[in-house]
């Protein structure tokens, strides 16, 4: 993330916090509807160990589901790309899985898998699987004719072609999918916790609503936002490290290296 973007993000947070604090002091809404920011922060600090423990559970579920979606999405995309006949049979079932609303079947999955983390991981996986699959598949398919011919002229075929040509070519798209999928996975984990759990941030939100404990509610929401941001930017940083050659970074790089390009 460039420094100017970071600065703008911080500026937004500061302004948002100020508006919140000033509005609650001036308008005095009931505490259970909107507590002032300082009392939310005070609650956060007092309860940070509890928050952290629950956040850890949700993060664990999210990352397991996301990791499975990355592996599964790439693997299925590979099969769909490589074996057109299998693809003909497999596509309808993939599409069927996608049009099934994952949130609607969450209670069913809990019934089947129980109240432990397995059901949450599965929901996180199902909800983040599709963006990875679609992007990876588009990436594998979008390699141009000349590159394919170049590979064949070198006698490169099969798995070697996939590893050396198709996969690196598809990486930028896979990362686009991953940026979307990571926050989908978080939503999946929280929804799973809503439906039934004894731990995790989703569980805390349900608890806070039942107890009308709005500082807990807002603390949890802030924790979820922080976690979402952390995940999203981690994927972005990993992407930069993995594919520094990609076209989307040229502009930022070039700004710092004027005079690099010559005739």
């Amino acid at each position: 993330m460039p420094a100017s973007t970071a600065l703008r993000v911080v500026a937004f947070i500061v302004v948002f916090s100020m508006v919140w604090e000033v509005a609650t002091v001036l308008l005095r809404p009931p505490d259970y509807l909107l507590p002032p920011l300082h009392s939310v922060l005070a609650y956060c600090f007092a309860q940070w160990q509890v928050m952290l423990k629950h956040a850890g559970v949700t993060a664990h579920e999210t990352l397991l589901g996301f990791g499975a979606a990355i592996a599964g999405g790439i693997a299925v995309a590979f099969v769909l790309d490589r074996f057109p006949r299998v693809a003909m049979i497999l596509w309808p079932s993939v599409l069927f899985a996608q049009i099934t609303p994952k949130v609607a079947i969450a209670p069913l999955l809990l019934l089947w898998l129980g109240f432990g983390i397995e059901s949450k991981v599965l929901i996180a996986f199902l909800i983040s699987f599709f963006p990875i699959l679609i992007n990876a598949h588009a990436g594998f398919q979008s390699i141009d004719e000349e590159t394919a011919e170049l590979a064949r002229s070198m006698g490169v075929r099969g798995l070697r072609y996939f590893v050396r040509f198709q996969f690196p070519h598809a990486l930028p798209r896979i990362f686009s999918g991953a940026r979307i999928a990571i926050n989908f996975a978080l939503v999946g984990a929280v929804v799973g916790e809503f439906v039934g759990s004894d731990q995790g941030l989703g569980n805390l939100i349900i608890l806070a609503a039942r107890l009308l404990n709005s500082p807990l509610m807002f603390s949890t929401i802030i924790a979820l936002m922080g976690m979402g941001a952390l995940f999203y930017f981690s994927v972005g940083m990993f992407e930069r490290w993995m594919i520094p050659w990609h076209v989307s970074y040229h502009r930022t790089l070039q700004a710092g290296k004027i005079g690099l390009q010559d005739a």
Binding site: R152, S153, W245
Partner: protein, 270 residues
């Protein structure tokens, strides 16, 4: 047809037809017969759509002809030719590999020599096309002409017996093209691969080639086979070489009536 004494490459009765989406059968090449000697530089000229690129792919074994045979080094071509180098109109560099790694791609995919040896060969070639010190850069950091030079190095680093070039300088401006033509001639004189060079630029064809094959018509067939009897190195200097200019005129005179004919057909049908 003036065949060379001992051809390394024989194209015998090659025809290519393909089906369009509407199911119509279209002929791209019609009864092509050619013999090419080892180390010969042959240019193919013709207006677009006469099947030049298709012929190149068939010779390299990247496409199979509908009919006819290609014999290379005494063997019928049934798949990609083993010692093949290929240059496209676009540089076709892998954007995730550095310049050096793009050149060594050829040798590493073919498992030729150790990493250090491959690196050494690639650096030597890059040096010869004026790209010394560019090895660690990524393709996007290079201009179009530089990228095409890298592509040329990649096609030559394994010392191919057969080099196929499909309008390699077609996308470059004239000032960038000339030095590249000189580089190509120099490198060809050093390594002496058999070159099949497709272009629609008559001047480029006579400057580079030992022989210019004119393809015309739909489907494409050979309408002229012109040997360019000018010594080497010619240095891509068409402007100051009356001999080359005479050959260019000859090639053009064969090409132009064909263009006129196609034009007439188009007016009639359209």
């Amino acid at each position: 047809m003036t065949g060379p004494a001992k051809p390394i490459l024989t194209i015998a009765g090659v025809q290519q037809r393909f089906a369009t989406r509407s199911g119509e059968i279209v002929a791209a090449l019609d009864n092509i017969n050619l013999e090419i000697a080892a180390g010969e530089f042959v240019a193919f000229v013709g207006i677009s759509g006469c099947g030049k690129t298709t012929l190149l792919k068939i010779v390299g074994g990247l496409t199979m002809p509908t009919q006819g045979d290609v014999i290379y080094k005494g063997e019928r071509v049934t798949g990609p030719v083993k010692d093949l180098g290929i240059v496209f109109q676009k540089p076709v560099l892998l954007e995730w590999r550095t310049v050096l790694a793009n050149v060594t791609l050829q040798t590493s995919m073919r498992d030729l020599g150790g990493a250090a040896e491959q690196r050494c060969l690639a650096e030597e070639l890059l040096d010869r096309v004026g790209l010394a010190g560019y090895g660690d850069r990524y393709p996007w950091e290079l201009s179009g002409g530089q990228q095409q030079r890298v592509s040329l190095c990649r096609a030559l680093v394994h010392k191919p017996g057969l080099l196929l070039m499909d309008e390699p300088f077609g996308a470059l401006d004239a000032l960038t093209r000339e030095p590249l033509q000189r580089d190509l001639e120099r490198m060809w004189l050093t390594q002496k691969p058999t070159v099949l060079f497709v272009t629609h630029d008559v001047g480029e064809a006579v400057c580079l080639a030992d022989r210019v094959v004119v393809l015309a018509g739909k489907p494409g067939s050979v309408v002229a086979n012109i040997r360019v009897g000018v010594g080497r190195a010619r240095g891509a200097d068409l402007l100051n070489n009356p001999q080359l200019q005479a050959y260019a005129k000859e090639v053009r005179s064969v090409l132009l009536p064909q263009e006129a004919k196609t034009g007439a057909v188009l007016t009639m049908t359209g």
